[in-house]
Amino acid sequence: MKANCWMGRNTVEVQEVPDPRILNPRDAIVRITSSAICGSDLHLYDGYIPTMKKGDVLGHEFMGEVVEVGPRVSTLRVGDRVVVPFPIACGDCLACAHGMYSVCENSNPNAGLAEKLMGHAPAGIFGYSHMLGGYPGGQAQYARVPYADFGPIKIEDDLPDEQVLFLSDIFPTGWMGAEMCDIKPGDVIAVWGAGPVGQFAVASAYLLGAERVICIDRFPYRLDIAARAGAETLDYEEVDVLDALRDLTAGRGPDACIDAVGMEAHYPVPAIQAYDRAKQATRMETDRPYALREAILACRNGGTVSVIGVYGGLVDKFPMGSFMNRSLTMKTGQCHVQRYLEPLLNKIREGAIDPSFVISHHLPLEEAPRGYEMFKNKENHCNKVVLRPWA
């Protein structure tokens, strides 16, 4: 089959690789009909996530049709149309029993590697480094899905791929970011990052009852999409974000701040950007946390900072004094996607949201390398690329 493989920093290649086969009784094989490139794939592309290996198949946002099931999978049949959540979860461990699917205790066979870096190991993730399992991803024609009797959700109505594909990651991720803000009537929510996850966080915050949502980025075309989802927008290259947020909230600060940026943030002051960029390049810190620093400083006293942007390792200059003295709360996590599949599919069915609003490009799988380049460099107003493996 054809698959998009990581071949080193800034290099992906569509290669011919073996077809996947069942390795365990609870596996299924899915013939992929749609697959997307995620902002977090750019962290792999840029070489900031450790334990990648040349040839790793990328991609963790995919859906398709079941073509084979293992002997212990009774919930799925050949021919079922499914969306596959990006964290792999067994459904049986204590973490899964508490709905914490992205920290499943069993799905990461390389937990020992992750423990060395993180203390304890999170779940396995499709196409996202060996520390997170060493699973091939879904930017391919087929994928093996472990614990297929637990994770994937069947799509039984005729909703098109474009509307349900993002249940695999970015819609639930944005939703969880807003949910962690514990939104009360009158709440003002600020979202750093107007990429697809930030855009879904904006839409979700409104669905969860926010009074106002303010979105911060530097690309006008992305801020426009956030504005269409209802956000007021700030271009951080034009205004001082802390001042602007103080002004917009008459001095209170946003009730909750969502970091939908993560480890490769940009900063409008070139000297500071260069300082963190240099430390990152020499591996003295792995992450550039400007959005997080700013989100903490901006948040109102007693408010919540919700972190859904991906971080890899260590950050410097974390404003702990502000965080502690002002009684802030931080909530975070890779999205526990399995929790949100059913309720969010219902929202799509009801017409409360049409997730296809984030899509800017459709490309055949062969053009994945161009998709990555375009997405990374924000060319052609690239916002979200959907790949067609059989086009």
Binding site: V17, P18, K53, N106, G112
Partner: protein, 306 residues
């Protein structure tokens, strides 16, 4: 060596680490003063050489102060001492008068320090007295399994199940009367077999065993099952004592291959948890055999297995 002696030489090593730090900082901050003190201030290269030695001293300090068992790291200082003595020896040959005397004094000081370094480093290498030629290795590991204690105990007590999650085990056969026959694939694919007996079996609490006379690898151990608090399942704790087949050398060799015995037991327990909770050993294409320390170091690419 007693615990007290052990601590003495580790303390000595830490002191030497601080000495490296102090010397290194001095050499980098005031190379001129150091070169005058050691009689080298007439050489145009002295400043540069002393700064380089200073950097090396900081590396020693990092090696010694950055670990919980610094004593073996003292060997890095011994190597550095040898370099310093060589340099000072050559410097002494080219000088005379008071400058030569200062170089000689510096050399004597370094020689004294070398003795202290060598003493500490060699103490660190001495084996524990009383351990005998075949060191007993004891391994401990634990894990929480989200299943009732009775079920966890039962699965383990059916010894034939063990090879499902202990991948080094070829087979376990129960032969009646509490006896069983074990086959293990050791390092370098050598098959080792022995008979074992269950010496204690407390229903749903504990299973203890030991190998019977004549086993190639004398071993014993226990596995204990207790309720995890608040309905969190069962806590499983394992202890294994055994005499490594080729003694310390075999153990070192096995570690070199990434087969650290303690890691093996931890991996076994992780797979045990997977089998108990999910009914299968978790496999990815990067680790098709499932959790295994050796494989974690040498991953396949994350591509389908042919």
């Amino acid at each position: 060596m007693s615990e007290k002696n052990h601590r003495t030489h580790e303390r000595l090593a830490t002191t030497l680490g601080w000495a490296s730090l102090g010397l290194g900082v001095a050499q980098l901050a005031a190379p001129g003063a150091i070169s005058r003190l050691s009689g080298l201030d007439d050489s145009p290269w002295a400043g540069k050489a002393i700064r380089l030695v200073g950097i090396r001293e900081l590396l020693h300090a990092a090696a010694l102060l950055g670990t919980r068992r610094p004593a073996p790291m003292t060997w890095t200082r011994v190597a550095g001492d040898a370099m310093d003595l060589t340099m000072l020896g050559r410097a002494m040959a080219n000088r005379d008068g008071p400058r030569r005397r200062r170089v000689a004094a510096a050399s004597a000081a370094v020689a004294g320090i070398t003795l202290a370094d060598m003493y500490t480093a060699m103490r660190a290498n001495r084996p524990m007295p009383g351990a005998g030629p075949e060191p007993i290795t004891n391994l401990r590991a634990s894990i929480t399994v989200n299943r009732p204690r009775q079920e966890v105990y039962r699965f383990w007590r059916s010894l034939e199940n063990l090879p499902r999650f202990m991948i080094h085990l070829e087979s376990v056969e129960t032969i009646g009367g509490g006896y069983s026959h074990w086959k293990v694939r050791g390092p370098a694919h050598k098959v080792i077999e022995w008979d074992a007996e269950i010496v204690e079996d407390r229903e749903e609490q504990l299973i203890a065993w030991r190998s019977i006379e004549g086993a190639t690898v004398r071993n014993s151990g226990w596995v204990r099952f207790t309720d995890a608090p608040g309905g969190r399942g069962t806590e499983v704790r394992v202890r294994i004592d055994y005499e490594a087949p080729a003694g310390k050398l075999g153990l070192a060799f096995a570690r070199l291959l990434g087969e650290h015995p303690e890691q093996q037991v931890r991996d076994d327990l992780r797979r045990f948890k997977q089998v108990m909770e999910t009914g299968e050993v978790t496999r990815s294409e990067g680790s098709p055999e499932g959790t295994r320390a050796q494989r974690q170091l040498f991953q396949r690419p994350a591509q389908p297995v042919r």
